[in-house]
Amino acid sequence: MTHHPHPLNPRVSFAECPARERIALLFDEDTFKEWITPAQRVMSPHLAQLGVPSSFDDGVAIGEARLDGHTVFVAAQEGEFMGGGVGEVHGAKLVGLFKRALRDRPAAVVLLAESGGVRLHEANAGLIAVSEVMRALLDVRAAGIPVIVLIGGANGCFGGMGIVARCADHIVMSDIGRLAMSGPEVIEASHGVEEFDSRDRALVWRTTGGKHRYLLGDCDQLVDDDVQAFRAAAIAALAKRRPLSADVLEKEHALLAQRLVDGRETRDAVELWQRIGVTQAARVPDMNATQVRALRSREESTQ
């Protein structure tokens, strides 16, 4: 697939690209070798029975590519198909990729995540698949192979895939990217519009968006919505291993416990940013990625 950036505006929006185009532009040119190709038609066994169209790749492309010359394994979820939902085949492709990584030991596994979580049409299979993805991902990390997650699609990274992302070594997000457990509509449906107005886009992004995740330390790098910025961040992440040790987990628990304290009786993300010492917290929503990066007071805890 070819994409020709405009000569006057060479930036290509990560969010606007479909999954396959992201792969084509992010990794070294023409190096992607796909496994379980669309032509093999390994498709959902459930969707057609429910009267819902299937996709030839079940919404995820997996394979091997080169990143700055290093062989890496790649998975890219297509957010426009069923919201990137993880069904039986989709999940099995992710699990298989991680298991193969254990055998072949690539330089890293790079996951271009865009998903609402488990695909509700095949929820039982999807739930099992997501738990298998987590186990396989953690096995890969335990074997010393870094797992890098890139989040910048319009559908965000939610539900089970939000947990999968937080199991990884390194997360790169754009300010457009979102990362959370329950999505905005789910929170509003279960707790009421007074608790969370899912149509308030500024609120949604303040609460789940890339800037928020970066300031809180939930993601490791914040970039502009630019495929080449994601590529540069992914290359930089290749060198950053995060051993899965008791020490690392205790630090993580301490961070989460502190967040409960910091978040007590805060009504909005801006208040939370103020509490954790972010200067100019009220201006954060208007800042670009470079300006927000300069704000993070905490040292990169993992380098």
């Binding site: 669309p38 032509a39 057609a48 009267g51 819902v52 299937s54 030839f56 297509e78 198909f81």
Partner: protein
């Protein structure tokens, strides 16, 4: 009037005069609302075959007109076209087909 639920399968075959020869399968588009994916694969026929799976039932006549129009312009021979559709309009269908054809021409 009740509309039966489920996917509708539509199949068409038109003669072609421009053999595509061997090529790697091409996939464009996404199965999203108002969108579709189309895959072109080489076939051993002298025709162009279309296999459509669509969630929008009852539009067979329009599909036939749009696909016939595409084939009149491209005249592909030895090509199998597989479509998964989620309610793409005729204009979107034509654009996706043209996009796919451009990859093998």
């Amino acid at each position: 009037m009740s509309v039966p639920i489920g996917i509708e399968s539509l199949n068409y075959e038109f003669p072609g005069h421009r053999p595509a020869g061997q090529f790697a399968p091409v996939l464009v588009g996404v199965v999203g609302s108002g969108n579709m994916e189309v895959m072109l694969e080489p076939a051993s026929t002298s025709t162009c075959r279309f296999a459509v799976q669509t969630s929008a039932r009852g539009f067979g006549a329009i599909w036939e007109a749009v696909l016939r129009d595409f084939q009149q312009r491209h005249g592909l021979a030895g090509v199998s076209v597989s479509i998964n559709d989620m309610g793409a309009t005729p204009a979107v269908v034509s654009l996706r087909l043209a996009q796919a054809a451009a990859e093998i021409e």
